[in-house]
């Protein structure tokens, strides 16, 4: 049987990939996908820990995370569309009307 720690390591790797993608990528959609990757990495952790502790609690959490991710996707894509309508670009570097 595959030890639980492997799943945790995979989850950490996926989460790091998500963070890296968020910081490196220059397209709004890709940045948004990186966030989704982070959430899914967390879900993997939850399922692993559910196996370790309490099968119901951890897995219920996963369902709620998925639901919230769906709500976020709906709102996020709507915002991305409104950005595209206003600016006709999805490049992060060009969304710069306001600077620090």
């Amino acid at each position: 049987m595959i030890p639980l720690s492997w799943y945790l390591i995979l989850s950490a790797v996926l989460f790091t990939l998500g963070v890296t993608g968020f910081l490196v990528k220059r397209n709004l959609i890709t940045v948004f996908m990186s966030i989704e990757l982070m959430l899914n990495a967390v879900n993997l952790s939850f399922v692993t820990f559910a196996h370790l502790w309490d099968p119901v609690k951890g897995q219920v959490f996963v369902f709620f995370v998925m639901m919230v991710a769906a709500a976020e996707a709906a709102v996020g894509l709507a915002i991305i569309i409104s950005v595209f309508r206003a600016r006709a670009t999805l490049a992060v570097d060009q969304i710069d009307l306001m600077k620090l």
């Binding site: 940045v31 966030i35 982070m38 990495a41 967390v42 915002i79 950005v83 309508r85 009307l97």
Partner: protein, 506 residues
């Protein structure tokens, strides 16, 4: 674990009564909005939302009756009614009410999806209220998202502007990013302790568990929450979002979600990780110093009023976090009080800014505020009053907020933190005074720019009055609010009653 959902007690529903009232109000607004013909003005829906908020306020007062019961939690131990949660419920409902009153008079006449605007504010309030009474991390997460998603949309409400969508996308992306960290923290704490109930986590952290995982969890959750309260170094989004979002929305989101997030921060730190206090105190020391210094230094360089107030709000998060250097109960009391003081003066300041700059921010710069005191003495005077409170001059809420926060930090032995805080308060006075001077200067030239909103409407006057009254009461007679804050703190941490008496001498 049995899922006998039919065995919910009536008291369970009573425990989330304010949230239920707000949800029903929001749904009602959406339904009426959808059934009205398109050309009808939706302004009255704002009154409906305000009415619902008043009912929610009454509902949270009615919850005081629940405190008599032996059982403190409901819904299988996921929500708790305590003086702590009621304190924040009243505060948040108050802020939402004032925001709705501002919006009622300042939103453009028609074609602006007003109905949805009011509904979104109401739904956001549901999340913020729930966040302060949740004692289980799943509910915490859901509440955090309910409040966040509503504010993401509200931030981008001025779609035509270009800055609106930009503010929304920045807020949304960075907010979801921070939520990801918070969620990963929850997963780690679940892995380390096998529980997501805050009180259970505390006992299991105390008896061991996996120290590495727990530390990681604490760090990740802190990132998520500190982002929501816009403390440095997680503050980058704040000025851009405040500049791009409509001013009434900024009045809301610079205060209410922050108050809720501070309540969450208190619950997580003092409720779940009291055993790790030696670790998180220095961390928050650093965050407090960074927030104060970065916020104030950056605010000095701003020409845009809303950006300046954004950086000032970062600095204020710093002053508040300084209270966490105080051990146990006093830290919580001072932080709760500061939240109330900050909320009342900041919401008031943004109310005036909305009126002077206009909904579309026609007059956004500090130099545009020149001579406001002569053109509309009421607005100029009110803004000066709020700025004086933000500086922290006595007889205003801001003074006592800072006073309690710094006294607490001093009691916790953080002398340097207090010194840096006091220096920062002096520094902050510089940019607030710059704006005050600009307001009080005689308007130059032959054609002074008239303030946009003339005459001042009934609703927004009521909002201003409420904010001024709250700031004054907190500055002249802070005793009652402080007592409530201390009671809430005591209920949260009954084991550490040392020193709290030193604060309640008023």
């Amino acid at each position: 674990m049995t899922l006998d959902l039919l065995h919910l007690m009536p008291t369970d529903l009573f425990r989330i009564l304010p949230e239920v009232v707000l949800t029903i109000t929001g749904v009602l607004i959406m339904l009426v909005d959808a059934s009205l013909p398109p050309h009808v003005d939706r302004r009255n829906l704002g009154w409906l939302a305000a009415l619902g908020t008043v009912f929610a306020l009454l509902a949270s007062q009615a919850q005081l009756a629940l405190l008599q019961l032996a059982e403190r939690t409901g819904f299988y131990g996921t929500v708790e009614t305590s003086t702590f949660s009621i304190f924040f419920h009243v505060l948040i409902c108050g802020i939402v009410l004032v925001t709705l009153l501002i919006a009622l008079d300042t939103l453009p006449e028609n074609g602006h999806h007003k109905g949805e605007f009011f509904a979104l504010i109401t739904f956001g309030a549901v999340g913020m209220c729930l966040l302060t009474s949740a004692v289980e991390l799943l509910v915490v997460f859901i509440a955090l998202e309910i409040s966040s998603i509503a504010t993401y949309v509200l931030a981008g409400y001025r779609k035509e502007n270009g800055r609106g969508p930009e503010a929304a996308i920045k807020y949304f992306l960075l907010g979801s990013f921070a939520t990801g960290f918070f969620l990963y923290g929850i997963a780690m704490v679940f892995g380390a302790t096998g529980s997501t109930v805050i009180s259970e986590i505390a006992t299991r952290v105390h008896t061991g568990g996996h120290p590495g995982l727990i530390l990681l969890a604490l760090g990740l959750m802190l990132v998520g929450i500190l982002f929501k309260v816009s403390a440095a170094p997680f503050h980058i989004w704040t000025p851009d979002v405040y500049e791009g979002a409509p001013s009434p929305v900024v009045a809301l989101m610079s205060t209410a979600p922050k108050a809720a997030a501070f309540a969450l921060l208190i619950r997580i730190l003092y409720g779940a990780f009291p055993a790790l206090q030696p670790i998180w105190t220095p961390l928050l020391w650093l965050v407090a110093v960074l927030s104060m210094t970065v916020g104030n230094l950056a605010a000095l360089r701003q020409h845009n009023v809303k950006r300046m107030l954004a950086y000032s709000s970062i600095a204020h998060a710093g002053y508040l976090i300084a209270a966490f250097a105080g051990a146990g109960n006093t830290g919580i009391t001072a932080a709760c009080f500061y939240t109330a003081a900050y909320a009342s003066m900041n919401v008031g300041a943004f109310a005036v800014v909305t009126l002077i700059s206009g909904y579309e921010d026609e007059l956004p710069l500090i130099k545009d505020f020149r001579g406001v005191l002569y053109r509309t003495p009421v607005l100029g005077g009110a803004l000066i009053f709020f700025l004086i409170s933000l500086i922290g001059i006595p007889f205003t809420g801001g003074f006592f907020g800072k006073f309690f926060s710094f006294t607490t930090a001093m009691g916790g032995g953080a002398v340097w933190l207090v010194l840096i805080g006091l220096l920062n308060s002096g520094l902050a006075a510089a940019y607030y005074l710059r704006l005050i001077v600009s307001i009080a200067q005689k308007p130059e030239g032959e054609s002074p720019v008239p303030p946009v909103a003339q005459p001042i409407g009934v609703a927004v006057s009521a909002a201003l009055m409420l904010a001024i009254a709250a700031t004054l009461v907190l500055g002249i007679a802070p005793g009652e609010v402080l007592k409530n804050a201390a009671e809430g703190a005591y209920e949260l941490m009954p084991h550490s009653m040392q020193m709290v008496n030193s604060l309640v001498f008023f």
